[in-house]
Amino acid sequence: MAPPRPIDGTLLKQGAEAHVYKSTFLLPNLPCLIKIRPTKPYRHATLDIRLTKHRCVSEARLLNRCRSMGVLCPAVYFVDEKRGEIIMEWIEGPSVRDFLHNYMDDASNPSKDEPKIIDVRLDALMENIGLTIGKLHDIDIIHGDLTTSNLMVKSRGTPDARASDSTDTSLADSDVVLIDFGLGQVSSSDEDKAVDLYVLERAFLSTHPRATRLFNIIIDSYKRNCLGSAVVLRRLQEVRLRGRKKSMLG
């Protein structure tokens, strides 16, 4: 592993797997995001190098494939796999997770309890998420870590026309952008796609326990939009059952 070097940028997030900076690429007015996978001292050095390099390269490849084939995700600008570094397109907007949390915590919003969250704007967002994941699976990409933190809401048009944490965005006019493909892979297997949805289901419902209805919109939209949805959703049933069965033994 090449030694890390100082990054010219603003540290945004020290996530579980990567450090994320906001910076610029090529020109002072072209914003970018720099993602660096730091070494993990808890794991064996050989394993660490293997995983870091593999994930960096694999993520860059998947982002490129995904974006190029027509599913929105950050474009790749530059890769330094020896340092586990990817420079990519800056996506302006909140994560779906923050978006939902803000929405539900918003004191001015009376509809905090799930049954009352009937808002066409939210429904449109969920619909869009289902469509986006459906497209992803139709190009045989498995995300591997579908959570609401890894889905962004990006408004179309001028990025600075709106505050990033505002819930007033016209959601009909926004795109869903997938980020963080570090655990992704190319696969046409129904099982892999079903597990991808299962991961999302569990992440979504544990993070937003009062939003079961919203999650169902995602699945419904996936069902209608994704060409291979019938088989995948049947498989999802099996994966769910397996999940319940697992806790058979204490």
Binding site: A2, D8, S23, T24, F25, L26, L27, P28, L30, V57, A60, R61, L63, N64, R65, R67, S68, M69, G70, V71, A75, V76, Y77, F78, V79, D80, E81, K82, I87, E89, K135, D138, I139, L227
Partner: protein, 206 residues
């Protein structure tokens, strides 16, 4: 007018001097001087028809300087200028990259880049720019995306950067009879731009 710029994440003393020319008359001469390895002609002479935006050659220059300065990487070609041409390529084949992305004797437009470490005592901006403006015989136009796109050969770009799968999912859905939202011209160019930048960035990843 020629453009001088330094690039984020590289030492600020490294500068790219860039000029775009049309109606070029001395491409054959420039090409022969490159083959003769005449150091007076150590420039990146790029064939503009394979460019889709101004970011593309800057990104190639960035990669070339980056690799030059990174002891773990280093140049794969003789100098930072040939490396800039090579950095436009999505593959490892150096000869092919010169042929496809560098000028040919019959080129009628040329993008010229001179990369210099401006901290060296020998550096002079004015003489660098003068020489840049004079070395290519033709009409200098602004180095910007608008001028570049007048020269783009989309067929070549799609072939060289292997972009046949671009927008695959929309085409797939269209075939199935779904209504697909048409993209604006800007969006189409932007998609093309990032697809090309991505293909360049992924060169050599194993």
């Amino acid at each position: 007018m020629p453009t001088t710029l330094s690039v984020p994440h590289l030492p600020s003393s490294y500068r790219l001097h860039i000029a775009l020319f049309t109606s070029v008359t001395n491409a054959a001469h420039l090409h022969s001087q490159l083959l003769a390895k005449n150091s007076e002609y150590e420039y990146a002479f790029i064939e503009p028809s394979i460019l889709v935006s101004h970011l593309q050659p800057i990104s190639a220059g960035f990669r070339a300087i980056h690799d030059l300065l990174d002891p773990d990487v280093g140049l794969r070609t003789p100098n930072v200028h040939s490396e800039t041409v090579f950095s436009l390529s999505p593959t490892h084949n150096i000869t092919d990259s010169y042929r496809r992305f560098g000028i040919s004797p019959s080129s009628t437009s040329v993008l010229a880049i001179k990369i210099l470490d401006t901290s060296l005592a020998s550096y002079s901006e004015s003489s660098t720019l003068e020489r840049l403006a004079a070395i290519v015989e033709g009409t200098e136009v602004d180095f910007d995306t608008k001028e570049i796109r007048k020269l783009t050969d989309l067929t070549k770009v799609k072939k060289y950067y292997k972009l046949k799968d671009m927008g695959y999912v929309d085409q797939l859905y269209k075939k199935k009879g779904r209504a697909i939202e048409e993209k604006s011209e800007d969006e189409v160019w932007r998609d093309l731009e990032v697809a090309v930048l991505g293909a360049m960035a992924l060169r050599g990843l194993v």
